[in-house]
């Protein structure tokens, strides 16, 4: 059933076996695992079923980037822009990219400090398969085997170095009208599977699950020893309605920033909140540095056309689009001491298009507050393409949250060179962190400050990746690679990474570890210090691969559900 807490008319406490905080990918997946069981569940969601800007404002905070010795405010408020705070969470505008992490992502790697999960890929294998059903993928194939399905001859890279791989895009064909490729839906609403929309009826109609909308978690109240959560205090946005949820088990599923924020705001804030005995909550924050960082000029037009076609999205499987990209073999990552990195090849954006020029003007005038370079030329380009600019601007200014992802997708295939684009795993360091500000939101909760830092391995990895790639493209006589200037500069200078890496796929802030010395939750996602408090979502990732996190988030939630089921059954028997 569903309860709108704004209209909730009872002073009674709410009771359940399992209280899940947050209805995004993690929370909805977890709740569904308990549907039609004897376990009573309350799923607490801050938002309603539609976007509400006032509620979204609860996400507001500050973001800082450190380059060398300089700490500066981030240009883009990623805390507001990347996430969504309503039923379904950020799946309301995610890109749909799905792929399991691989063996090496879980391993302790000697060249990456603080790497290594207490579980391995085999432990998650069966949960990845179950997750594929939740995110509605039609296949478990992500390897270069898919080229054969596409009737495309794959590039013959040295497999000891580079291999082509695929992401599946969840939900695209269902939402976007069966397009044949990514380009057919460029500029339209992202068609990824929206968990809130997809699973709303199932959860709202459930007999043992109560979905509580417009209810914000404001304080987890523990016993005196701070090793057991007794109840959760909730409030609606106006603070007119407040209540308590009493449960056997509590699970935080509020995302990479909100999970640590709730912990830090609970109990005694001045003393670091709860579940934070070793001061690790919020530390080791991981973003996903991503950027264009090189150009491939092909030996002829035919090669450019082929690569442009082969490395765009394809309809390959029954329900999904697949997105080909390149990755590096385990041996190559080992030998070169690289972080994990994925490479995408994209036809070059047309720098003379109105959209591109409008974005350039916006970035410099609004974000940097400087007089734009080439203002006249850019203005002419904008006027030339004014119809397209208006349509796209309207789309992005509207409250349709699903459109907010489209600004980065203005790819207009006119230039016959290929831009090389990559996402790199971030090396976990404790100085990269989420902590509380003294500023408070409407609910009286302290906002967060994100301090994002990289240790230089990310740029080194991108550079090394491009050299390997350049040599392979040369060997195959496909073309020559040019590295972007910024990548050859000092490793402390982030270049375009500083605009994109912070806020994207936030992870690591309540990391999983064998002992409490190096993390916040154990192998079962339970707090090291609080016996009935669990955490799910990307905040528990000790390292974050280059892969989009949702598939792993869903797999971990299913694994956690199995554990909680066993635990609650055991408790009821004893």
């Amino acid at each position: 059933m569903v309860i709108d807490f704004d209209k909730f008319d009872s002073d009674d406490d709410l009771n359940c076996n399992l209280c899940i905080i947050g209805a995004g990918a993690a929370g909805i997946t977890l709740a569904r695992e308990f549907n039609n069981t004897k376990i009573n569940v309350i799923l607490v969601e801050s938002g309603g079923i539609e976007y509400d800007h006032q509620i979204q404002m609860l996400y507001d905070g500050e973001t800082y980037i450190t380059e060398g010795s300089i700490r500066r405010k981030a240009y883009y408020n990623s805390l507001m822009g990347w996430r969504l705070r309503f039923f379904g969470g950020t799946t309301n505008h995610w890109s749909g990219g799905c792929k399991p992490f691989r063996d090496i992502d879980f391993e302790k790697r000697s060249w990456i400090s603080n790497s290594g999960w207490p579980i391995n890929a085999a432990d998650l294998e069966k949960y990845y398969r179950r997750a594929e059903k939740v995110i509605q993928l039609s296949s478990s194939v992500y390897s270069d085997e898919l080229w054969h399905h596409l009737n495309i001859a794959p590039l013959e890279f040295d497999k000891d170095k580079i291999e082509s791989w695929f992401e599946q895009r969840s939900g695209f064909l269902k939402e976007a009208g069966n397009p044949n490729s990514w380009r057919d839906i460029t500029g339209k609403s992202i068609g990824s599977l929206k968990f809130g929309k997809e699973y709303r009826d199932e959860l709202f109609d459930s007999k043992n699950i109560k979905v509580l909308l417009h209810a914000n978690a404001v304080d987890l109240i523990t016993n005196n020893d701070i090793n057991h959560v007794n109840l959760l205090k909730i409030s609606n946005l106006s603070r007119v309605r407040e209540s308590k949820i009493i449960a056997d088990t509590f699970v935080l599923c509020a995302g990479g920033f909100e999970n640590p924020r709730i912990l830090l705001n609970s109990g005694n804030r001045d003393n670091g909140g709860i579940a934070n005995n070793n001061g690790l909550v919020g530390k080791y924050y991981l973003g996903h540095p991503l950027a264009e960082f090189g150009t491939l000029v092909t030996r002829d037009q035919e090669q450019a056309d082929k690569l442009g076609h082969d490395f765009s999205m394809h309809k390959a499987l029954e329900k999904n689009l697949v997105d080909p990209h390149l990755r590096f073999s385990n041996a190559c990552l080992n030998n070169n001491k690289m972080l994990n990195i994925g490479i995408w090849l994209r036809v070059k954006s047309d720098k003379n298009s109105g959209i591109y020029s409008a974005i350039e003007i916006y970035k410099q005038l609004i974000l940097n507050k400087t007089l734009p370079n080439n203002l006249t030329k850019n203005m002419i380009n904008v006027l030339k393409d004014i119809d397209d600019v208006i349509v796209q601007s309207f789309r992005n200014a509207s409250d349709d949250p699903s459109s907010s992802y489209t600004t980065s997708r203005f790819v207009i295939p006119t230039e016959q060179s290929i831009r090389i684009w990559g996402i790199v795993e971030q090396a976990p360091i404790s100085d990269s962190k989420v902590h509380l500000s003294t500023n408070q939101d409407e609910l009286g909760l302290n906002k967060i400050i994100v301090d994002w830092k990289l240790n230089g391995q990310e740029k080194q990895t991108m550079r090394r990746a491009l050299i390997i790639l350049g040599n392979e493209f040369g060997r195959l006589n496909i073309g020559r690679v040019k590295i972007d200037d910024w990548l050859l500069e000092d490793d402390n200078l982030l270049g375009p990474l500083s605009d994109t890496g912070i806020g994207s796929h936030p992870a690591g802030t309540t990391r999983m570890s064998t002992t409490s010395v190096s993390g916040v939750v154990d192998v079962n996602c339970r707090s090291h210090f609080i016996d009935n408090l669990y955490i799910s979502g990307s905040s528990i990732f000790p390292t974050n691969s280059y892969v989009s996190p949702t598939h792993t988030i869903v797999a971990l939630s299913i694994k956690l559900a199995d554990h909680i089921k066993r635990n609650l059954v055991h408790k009821s028997q004893t």
Partner: protein, 128 residues
């Protein structure tokens, strides 16, 4: 200084081939090999845009990045080819590049990742 995009896009690879060709042309003149000279002349006429070579050459040529010994080694390899016509020359050069790239014998020239052999030919152009 970066290369104007249109120039690099349109002519980069053909220019590299051109540079190679002219370099080998000079080498072959020194070697007084008339047959090779004819092949290379044909190759230049077929592939090279002299204006673009000159322009890109200014950007790409970075002497002293490869040691003298290594340069001599590469030159002798170019000379040792058994090419008797333009196509064979091209094929022979591509084989050398492939071998270079296979063993990561590359060099940065103005941010481009080029095989050492390509780079040596660029250096030859400087002396022209």
């Amino acid at each position: 200084m970066s290369i104007p995009f249109k120039v690099s896009r349109r002519v980069l690879l053909s220019t590299i081939v051109g540079l190679v060709t002219i370099g080998v042309y000079r080498i072959s003149r020194k070697a007084t090999n008339n047959d090779k000279q004819k092949i290379l002349t044909d190759y230049i006429e077929k592939n090279c845009n002299k204006y673009n070579i000159s322009r890109l050459g200014q950007e790409y040529i970075r002497p002293n990045k490869i040691s003298g010994a290594r340069k001599d080694q590469i030159l002798s390899k170019i000379f040792s080819g058994n090419y008797t016509n333009v196509d064979e020359l091209e094929s022979y050069l591509i084989d050398i590049y492939t071998e270079d790239y296979s063993h990561e014998k590359y060099i940065f020239l103005n941010n481009w990742i080029l095989s050492e052999t390509e780079a040596v030919v660029c250096i030859l152009m400087l002396a022209r």
